[in-house]
């Protein structure tokens, strides 16, 4: 790593349980859905074929696929942490589908701040994706949680951790 690293946007000492992440609102179009599906190499027709989605799947339109939602969550989290933020785990549960015409809103709240035995700084975040329902009230589409490493100080860099010092969870392999 020969180039001088930029200063971290966020360090662990500046994060506290209960901190609320800035909201991210995105207007979803058919292009959002189709581009997201193709970017994740998901060729299944319910993500690009209106007739298939409505007549075979029984949904009201094509809808965002799972891997693309993961990409949206990563973007949401690293918008907050900056480029030093390194995802360890992401878990999410889709309660309903996101369709063209929806405005999806991402929200997050810090639920844990810790340093592991290897000196890696971790932030736990509960995340949520909502869209406005017909009555104007928020409808929860996806909920989840993430564990993301952030620098413990200005000289730290989670991306410098190799397999021996990067332990985001218990491996199943």
């Amino acid at each position: 790593m020969s180039t001088t690293a930029p200063a971290p946007t966020l360090t662990l000492d500046r994060v506290h349980v209960g901190d609320v992440l800035p909201e991210l609102a995105v207007d979803v179009t058919a292009t959002t859905v189709v581009l997201g599906a193709l970017a994740t190499r998901d060729w299944r027709p319910m993500h690009h074929d209106y007739k298939f989605a409505t007549e075979r799947n029984g949904t009201r339109d094509i809808f965002l696929n799972t891997p693309n939602q993961a990409a949206w969550f990563e973007r949401y989290l690293t918008d907050w942490t900056g480029p030093h933020g390194r995802l360890g785990t992401v878990t999410f549960r889709m309660k309903d589908s996101v369709f063209p015409g929806d405005t999806m809103v991402f929200r997050g709240e810090v639920t844990a701040v810790a340093t592991d035995a290897l000196g890696c700084g971790w932030v736990g975040v509960e995340v949520m994706l909502t869209v406005a329902g017909e009555d104007g009230a928020d409808r929860i589409m996806t909920t989840g949680s993430a564990r993301i490493a952030v620098p413990v100080d200005a000289d730290d860099n989670p991306w410098a951790r190799g397999p021996d010092t990067w332990k985001p969870g218990d491996w199943k392999a």
Partner: protein, 184 residues
């Protein structure tokens, strides 16, 4: 979708399961790669799809300083195992997550959705890496009825390793296969 009363991730030994399904619970299947290397063109397409401007993936100097060179966003993990929709000599459309489709066929469930997804990330994927994956069926639920229809939940792990046998990540999917007319 549904109110997913999904099963846990521990192996299931439900007597009602067909022998062909019970026999593969916990057994790695479909180990292989998608036939292409990780590359930045796809990285940028993915970033564009979610308007992700993280300089770690766009700025070569930042990538070098933080990660020792270009890397792919962790959330792209599954991209590197998804096969082409068509390939020379292939007689059918190729499908990823084959265990999921095997289960749909085994239970005669024509429709399916994914309800839960957990991803644990290991070493970063770099351009030129050839990622191989293997699929492990972890559990299958008894018959369930949701507002989508009647069917079953199942949990599938996809484990990813690079050409150096380093674990790149594990994805755990919960799927619900169903029949819309309500018969399982």
């Amino acid at each position: 979708m549904t109110e997913p009363s999904a099963p846990g991730s521990s192996p299931t030994t439900d007597d009602a399961l067909p022998e062909s399904v019970a026999a593969v619970i916990g057994v790695p299947q479909y180990e292989g790669d998608a036939g292409f290397d990780a590359e930045m063109g796809y990285v940028w397409t993915s970033l564009a799809s979610v308007e992700n401007g993280n300089p770690l993936f766009w700025d070569a100097d930042v990538a070098e300083a933080l990660a020792g060179g270009p890397i792919a966003p962790p959330s792209m993990l599954s991209v590197w195992f998804r096969p082409h929709h068509w390939a020379p000599g292939a007689t059918d459309n190729l499908v990823p997550l084959q265990v999921h489709f095997d289960l749909k066929e085994a239970f005669g469930l024509p429709e399916a959705v994914m309800t839960d997804n957990t991803i644990t990330f290991g070493v970063p994927v770099r351009p030129g890496d050839r990622i191989r994956s293997r699929q492990v069926l972890r559990s299958v639920s008894p018959p369930k009825t949701t507002k989508l229809g009647a069917g079953r939940f199942w949990v599938i792990d996809v484990e990813y390793l690079n050409q150096r046998d380093e674990l790149v990540g594990v994805e755990t999917y919960t799927g619900f296969g169903y029949r819309r007319d309500g018969s399982s």
